[in-house]
Amino acid sequence: MDIGRPQRIIEIEPVSLPLPSPDLPSYEPATEPAPDPNPVEPVDP
């Protein structure tokens, strides 16, 4: 296959490699319950 004459040289150092990353560990949600968005106000006796 003839791709013609060389025209220029490019030195490419990619910020991230164009290679698939290995499988990441599955996401595990935090076990601590989320705070109540509407806490009940304490009632004075």
Binding site: M1, D2, I3, G4, R5, P6, Q7, R8, I9, I10, E11, I12, E13, P14, V15, L17, P18, L19, P20, P22
Partner: protein
């Protein structure tokens, strides 16, 4: 090509984004469709292994790093599809990322590092005839030395008529999916 660098110095630039080019590969695998490997269409060069960066080497001489301006070594990619229609026995067409030292030519590139980005099985006869308008292959023929050849039904019949008889037929959809999964890349759809 060998005298170009002697006539005038080549422009040299830098970049941080890989170049994406067109490329074809040959395909090998076991008779059950496992151990699929993309291979260069020319010669008996090393396969491109799944999940590993392909790195160029020069089979002519080990005295220079690849790609060298005064050689033809390196991992090839092209600007367009038409040039690839002349390649010998292509089985897979795709887009390939090229980086490291890349030499840009009139019609393509030679690179130090590469990895496929999008791939599709092609019937080599349809690709030679119709290029980007080629239909998808229907089956993949398994041949001695683990060569896998995707074909449409029409060209399978033609191949058989001329003595090119596959030892086994595999569904092209299944082989294509297994290949994409092995290399963790997406299907090339529009080309």
């Amino acid at each position: 090509m060998t005298t170009a660098s002697a006539l005038r110095p080549l422009e040299a630039t830098t970049g941080i984004e890989p170049i994406v080019a067109w490329r074809t590969w040959a395909l090998t695998g076991h008779r059950d469709g496992t151990n699929l490997l993309l291979r260069p269409v020319a010669g008996r060069s090393r396969p491109w292994r799944p999940m590993q960066v392909a790195e160029a080497g020069c089979k002519h001489t080990r005295m220079h790093s690849s790609p060298s301006v005064d050689c033809t070594c390196g991992l090839h990619g092209t600007h367009g599809l038409d040039l690839l229609r002349r390649t010998r026995c292509p089985a897979v067409l795709g887009r390939v990322a090229l980086w490291g030292r890349v030499i840009e030519h009139d019609h393509g590139y030679r690179a130090q590092f590469a990895y496929p980005q999008l791939i599709a099985l092609i019937c080599q006869f349809c690709f030679w005839q119709w290029g980007s308008h080629a239909p998808s292959p229907d089956i993949v023929g398994w041949f001695p030395r683990d060569a896998l050849v995707p074909l449409c039904w029409g060209h399978l019949e033609l191949a058989q008529r001329y003595g090119m008889e596959p030892r086994r037929l595999l569904p092209a959809d299944e082989v294509g999916l297994a290949l994409r999964e092995a290399y963790a890349v997406d299907q090339l759809i529009h080309w």
